[in-house]
Symmetry: C2
Subunit: 496 residues, 2 copies
Amino acid sequence: MGRRALLLLLLAFLAPGATITLRPALKTLGSLHLPTSRTSRPAVAKNYSVLYFQQKVDHFGFNTAKTFKQRYLIADEYWKRDGGSILFYTGNEGDIIWFCNNTGFMWDVAEELKAMLVFAEHRYYGESLPFGQSSYKDSRHLNFLTSEQALADFAELIKHLKRTISGAENQPVIALGGSYGGMLSAWFRMKYPHIVVGALAASAPIWQFEDLVPCGVFMKIVTTDFRKSGPYCSESIRRSWDAINRLSNTGRGRQWLTEALHLCSPLASQDIQHLKDWIAETWVNLAMVDYPYASNFLQPLPAWPIKVVCQYLRNPNISDSLLLQNIFQALNVYYNYSGQAKCLNISETTTTSLGSLGWSYQACTEMVMPFCTNGIDDMFEPRLWNLKEFSDDCFSQWGVRPRPSWITTVYGGKNISSHTNIVFSNGELDPWSGGGVTKDITDTLVAITISEGAHHLDLRASNALDPRSVLLARTLEVRHMKKWIRDFYGRAGKQN
Amino acid sequence: MGRRALLLLLLAFLAPGATITLRPALKTLGSLHLPTSRTSRPAVAKNYSVLYFQQKVDHFGFNTAKTFKQRYLIADEYWKRDGGSILFYTGNEGDIIWFCNNTGFMWDVAEELKAMLVFAEHRYYGESLPFGQSSYKDSRHLNFLTSEQALADFAELIKHLKRTISGAENQPVIALGGSYGGMLSAWFRMKYPHIVVGALAASAPIWQFEDLVPCGVFMKIVTTDFRKSGPYCSESIRRSWDAINRLSNTGRGRQWLTEALHLCSPLASQDIQHLKDWIAETWVNLAMVDYPYASNFLQPLPAWPIKVVCQYLRNPNISDSLLLQNIFQALNVYYNYSGQAKCLNISETTTTSLGSLGWSYQACTEMVMPFCTNGIDDMFEPRLWNLKEFSDDCFSQWGVRPRPSWITTVYGGKNISSHTNIVFSNGELDPWSGGGVTKDITDTLVAITISEGAHHLDLRASNALDPRSVLLARTLEVRHMKKWIRDFYGRAGKQN
């Protein structure tokens, strides 16, 4: 198995939500089978100011005095100087405007919490590039892309806001984030409890490290999503890999596959692993965005997209060629729901965008998340987690080697019960929930489970089709946030 | 006022306990007025193993894979694999063997707590040099000398011990330290509560930053110590500065001063500020080590050395020359209690030793502690805290500029109430208590005050002359540590 292919596949899994931010638009054309009208609700135009804050490139050393401009957004329409609060989105691996537009929950609760909304961009993403266009040049320039530096950015930014915005100084700040951003929110509360009174960590797989959870749990959940979304659906996918293997043995078979899958470029024999990785990544992404309404998070998609996909995958016991034709229909739901794509491009993976480039580096340094499959508990080809191979791939790509136990050392792994005021929310459909906190740890480290939720559904804007479980989750989340705010003002009152 | 002189003076203040570790022995000779026999108790030979652990030079970046050997000491005579504990000394700015020998408290309680003792050397001190002899070469080599890196070293070392020492894995670890080491202990518990169940932070001035306490509090306490130790003592010192100024106006006066103070080198006019700084530093050091029994911490000294010093300073209303002769007698108590010194060397300040070199860098980067005097509330010449001047001095000495608010940003300043299980002990005689936590913050963040204690007296070995207040303090400290240990085993029991 090609090492590069392995790396690509892992990076896809490793990127909670990363795949998307800067994915180049698919070439538009016609010829496909789905409705051409976009049914996803367009992002509501948000009213915010775009601002920049001068950050130190290195918070943890003094040899360089270099600074860069961190971008952040502020929306204060509902903010009250009297008794208000500050909701601080701890930006993750992508353009902050995209996250801002996809975190409708914060906008929905702003009035109730009298809240100023702040969205802080994560260094090395979007416009917040410590060394401009050279930021990704080499491991020397990438040296300051770590979660610790990002948290320090957030701390400095909040101090700056409190210093400079009249009325903000004596208000409680709550961290919010989803996916890697949710991990950052939780860690921010753990490491800087003097700066944020609490954190809402949505779909934050803080335990997807070392052996804290079984390495197979992620793909098992993906598989369950497909199994439950249509008869024989996961079984069809499980059988598809061998069908691809058999068909791709000959040049003629590969040509047939190229045509059947409407690929933009002809398949060579060395592309087959990459093809399978790309397909697997598609199923993973679908599991992440299996939302109850039409949406446009990773791609324009119908409501419950896995159900739609599974309509094409009801019969596993057919010929290889028929099975692969069905697989194409299924892929097409994801890549061409708008009906505009002329062909499917297996090179258009996440790694061509800045966002996923950065995450690939982070996965090769701190964010070492072991994944594996066995083909029995999941619908994928068996693959062991191979740290040595992973490390070698990282070294050849970035010139760095991962430190797989560092995140546990620095953030505590499962031993976090001494912290307080963190809500961990997880959707049961979301494969990342496998590495998340899904049971209460203490009275103030609480888990909220959204039975019908995919990847941080709760952070999305309210929708008429929202299932009850997410409505309840949001209600609980607001209740916790209100309590943190009340406690903050209670303490402040005592001191006065 | 010379900027270098200012820097020297400040660095002395800035170094809690730093001055001492590597101070070159004074040249021995005779001619002075005090007993020649050493009355200080010789350090008891401790039985420990010296070990080394391979640490990453940079925990917070991945560009360098360099490592260095961190030295640590282990003593396990009283350690019990069954129900035992680990007392972990968070090494501060100096040779770890010296700290080990001056932290008798840990040895005294080892049996009662069935404890393994670990003393971890702080990077860039003693033998734990990240770049060997080049470690202090320039700001590039010094870049990894920060408290955060030191805490990460401690975390990695403890994980290593738990991995490799059979029986240690499931035992509670308690951090202990004094002075800067006490700050590290407290911060270690705040940042790594999953690794240590609690911390004893002795004489830890965690609030001697920014404007968390008045900049004059330190010298005010020094002054109080002298005022209370003899009639007109502080007044005599207060008057001495002008006497020096008047006498040093002429060459003849400076020659007289050189002789009267038994200085090793003749005073030039540009030395006068330095002379006064050196004298002031002596009073500061005496305040730190004003112990109730003869000791040899900074220098061999009698019991209650300030009282001895003040015997020479009972009459402020005398001529300049008589006053300065008395000042000499007082200085001589500190520098020549053994009676072996031929002359006093005002160049032998802390900055010639590695320990204080390192602290000087730390004071110029993270550990920015504002100090000032006004000559009214204290017995010193008035001096404002001048950050600009301080920063310029740092830049010319080290090529770095301090970040005065960073420590507050990263460790929380006064807003630390969400943490737990830290005992802050302070001696009322200790000038560093002015920047310490001297009132309970919560039920588990408690302050212990030792009315008759100087700098971390409680960490010193038990002594027949120990005042009641330190006996009580140690009793309380052991009680807290036992509770942390009990709670740890209680939680572990529940999980099984």
